[in-house]
């Protein structure tokens, strides 16, 4: 799915939302979505009931952060953290529109305050720290808030000794925060190093699409890395590469399956099997964690920043 398709998709989703506001009876809700991959016309409610996976071709539609967490976390187990953390405009950035306006637009379009949701939950009974990115908010771009929320989540996980699951979906760093965005790569990677030294499990889940600064930091640092089928994942975008090397790339380039074949990820797991896979992975690693480790022993940890 390229950006154009994504815009079309978003337009359709908006139509669905708007439609929902107007229509009241179930019959009228029978809106149809055409599968991006196989073109099959899908009844939108059926699609949603199937976790937004096309029942015909298994195309995994992009989903929002809260939907993602709902699919993974046990019912009512999710407890959101740092929901008040929102972006400021440190660079007073203005291109064709001001960053402040773009932030407001992003919130209006997605209903979210930022491109990531963090919190704690249980996954089939096992506690975990979890984050999910939302491409619908500013293309899932990472600015100060995304970096800070991830870092705080990881620090909380260290203190509470929880495994960390991060579901990525991002176009990369947020240009409107300039160099501050770039530095979030270092900040989140540093936090993950502390998690690593605390011997805690970090599972990274890559979903359509994950690129740029997000893959070049926390998304590629999982102890275990999982990708959804068909998800496009990479460092540089396809067009940038094609312009650079002046040749066409193979169709499967940068897909989850390509990454698996090229040794970059541990497994491709279809959406419906993600919760049980996470459960098994967390269960497998939890008893092996030495219990003696505690915060005080992390001599280098700047955990004075943590709000628990």
């Amino acid at each position: 799915m390229d950006l154009k398709e994504w815009f079309n998709n978003r337009k359709k989703n908006n139509e669905i939302k708007q439609a929902k506001q107007i229509l009241s009876t179930e019959e009228y809700c029978a809106l149809w979505v055409s599968c991006f991959q196989c073109r099959e016309l899908l009844y939108s409610r059926d699609l949603r009931n199937n976790l937004n996976v096309c029942p015909k071709c298994q195309y995994h539609f992009r989903i929002g952060a809260y939907d993602r967490i709902e699919q993974i976390a046990d019912a009512n187990s999710f407890c959101e953290t740092e929901n008040d953390l929102v972006s400021s405009d440190p660079l007073k950035f203005f291109d064709t529109q001001s960053y402040v306006d773009r932030l407001n637009d992003a919130t209006n379009k997605s209903g979210l305050k930022e491109a990531i949701i963090t919190g704690t939950c249980t996954i089939q009974g096992l506690p975990a720290a979890i984050a999910a990115m939302d491409f619908a908010y500013f293309g899932g771009s990472m600015g100060s808030v995304v970096g800070e929320k991830i870092t705080r989540l990881i620090e909380m996980a260290i203190v509470k000794r929880l495994p960390v699951v991060i579901v990525s979906s991002s176009g990369g760093a947020r240009m409107q925060e300039g160099i501050l965005s770039l530095m979030q790569l270092a900040k989140t990677s540093g936090a993950l190093k502390l998690l690593h030294e605390a011997k805690l499990l970090y599972i990274s889940i890559l979903t359509e699409p994950t690129f740029g600064g997000v893959t070049a930091s926390f998304a590629m640092l999982g102890d275990i890395i999982i990708a959804e089928p068909g998800a496009r994942i990479g460092f540089a975008g396809r067009r940038v590469i094609e312009q650079t090397i002046r040749q066409k790339l193979p169709p499967d380039f940068q897909t989850a399956e390509y990454l698996l074949k090229h040794g970059q990820i541990d497994m491709v797991v279809e959406r419906s099997k993600i919760p049980q896979t996470l459960h098994r992975l967390i269960e497998f690693h939890q008893n092996s964690v030495p219990q003696a480790l505690n915060v005080e022993k992390l001599k280098n940890s700047p955990l004075n920043h943590v709000k628990v």
């Binding site: 100060s144 760093a173 160099i179 770039l182 540093g190 070049a216 540089a236 650079t244």
Partner: protein, 318 residues
């Protein structure tokens, strides 16, 4: 130092014109000794104009200086730091990426491991160095040398001058993203002092991959940004003409990076930019590195120092 005759940069045009005037008069001087006074006046004007121009550079002018083809590159600095420096090669896994230069270097009494990106001077060198854009193997070569430094308790100096990590097919296949991410992960808890210097272009993740350090220094006319101004302009303005706007908006200069709390100190360049005085640029850089090595030697926990430095970066409403 090379002295390639190159067309002047945009903002240098007035200087260049004045220079042509002076040269023309000088050619007439043998037959017209009375011109000497005028020439002398023009010289003063030239010097004054140069100071004015270089004292009022826009971000896009600095970008041009940072990319100036006569600007000293990593190897030029290394030769001036320590003519006997010993180069280390290779990632041990099949590739020696020439875009990443690694070596054992003495800075006066300090023995350090230097890791730096390298652009090429002539066409052949540029190709060998891939125009300063490392492959994943280049970052892994850097990591090997970081670990060497860690083992022998040697400080690490990284010299940054890169448009970014190479966006190629093999680079993606070999996991460019992971190469950068893993360097960040491994840089995080090195117990030795790590100092980076942005020499010219500090291009995005490809720069940060060797730039997660205790101290960040920038040369006066270097730039450091999350994406190239051209990339930013084409995405946000959808226009290649808006590079200047992108430069201004992203705050890419050394001064702006210092104001944002990213950069610790700005290293002065000779008037006219580092390209007009390699030795001076190298001497200033060396002096500043040594000063910061001394400052870091007072830190008791360099891991905490490093992680905390980045931990604090970011603006948000809480």
């Amino acid at each position: 130092m090379t002295s390639n005759k190159l067309p002047p940069l945009d903002f240098e045009l007035p200087l260049s014109n004045l220079n042509s005037q002076i040269e023309a008069l000088e050619r007439q001087l043998p037959n017209n000794p009375q011109l000497e006074q005028e020439i002398s006046e023009l010289y003063k004007q030239y010097e004054s104009l140069k100071k004015t121009i270089y004292g009022n550079l826009r971000a896009i002018d600095r970008l041009a200086i940072a990319r100036h083809p006569n600007r000293p590159y990593t190897r030029d600095y290394l030769e001036r730091f320590d003519p006997n420096w010993l180069e280390l090669h290779g990632d041990r896994h099949g590739v020696d990426d020439m875009a990443m230069v690694c070596g054992l270097v003495k800075l006066d009494n300090y023995k350090v491991v230097v890791v730096g990106t390298q652009k090429g001077r002539n066409i052949r060198e540029k190709q060998l160095c891939n125009f300063g854009m490392p492959q994943p193997e280049g970052y892994r070569k850097a990591l090997r040398c970081f670990k060497h430094a860690q083992k022998f308790n040697l400080p690490i100096i990284t010299l940054i001058d890169t448009p970014g990590a190479y966006p190629g097919m093999a680079a993606e296949e070999h996991n460019q993203a992971q190469a950068i991410a893993f360097n960040l992960f491994e840089l995080a808890d090195l117990t030795v002092p790590v100092i980076s210097v942005i020499l010219g272009e500090g291009g995005s993740g490809g720069a940060l991959a060797i730039g997660f350090t205790n101290t960040i220094l920038m040369l006066e006319n270097s730039v450091y940004s999350v994406i190239s101004p051209e990339g930013c302009a084409s995405i946000l303005w959808r226009s290649a003409d808006k590079v200047q706007d992108a430069c201004e908006a992203m705050k890419i200069t050394a001064l702006e990076n210092k104001e944002l709390g990213i950069v610790d100190e700005i290293i002065p360049e000779p008037l006219g930019g580092a390209q007009s005085g390699w030795d001076e640029a190298a001497a200033n850089t060396k002096k500043c590195i040594i000063k910061h090595l001394e400052l870091l030697s007072k830190e008791t926990d360099l891991v905490k120092h490093r992680i905390n430095k980045y931990r604090k970066i970011g603006f948000y409403k809480d």
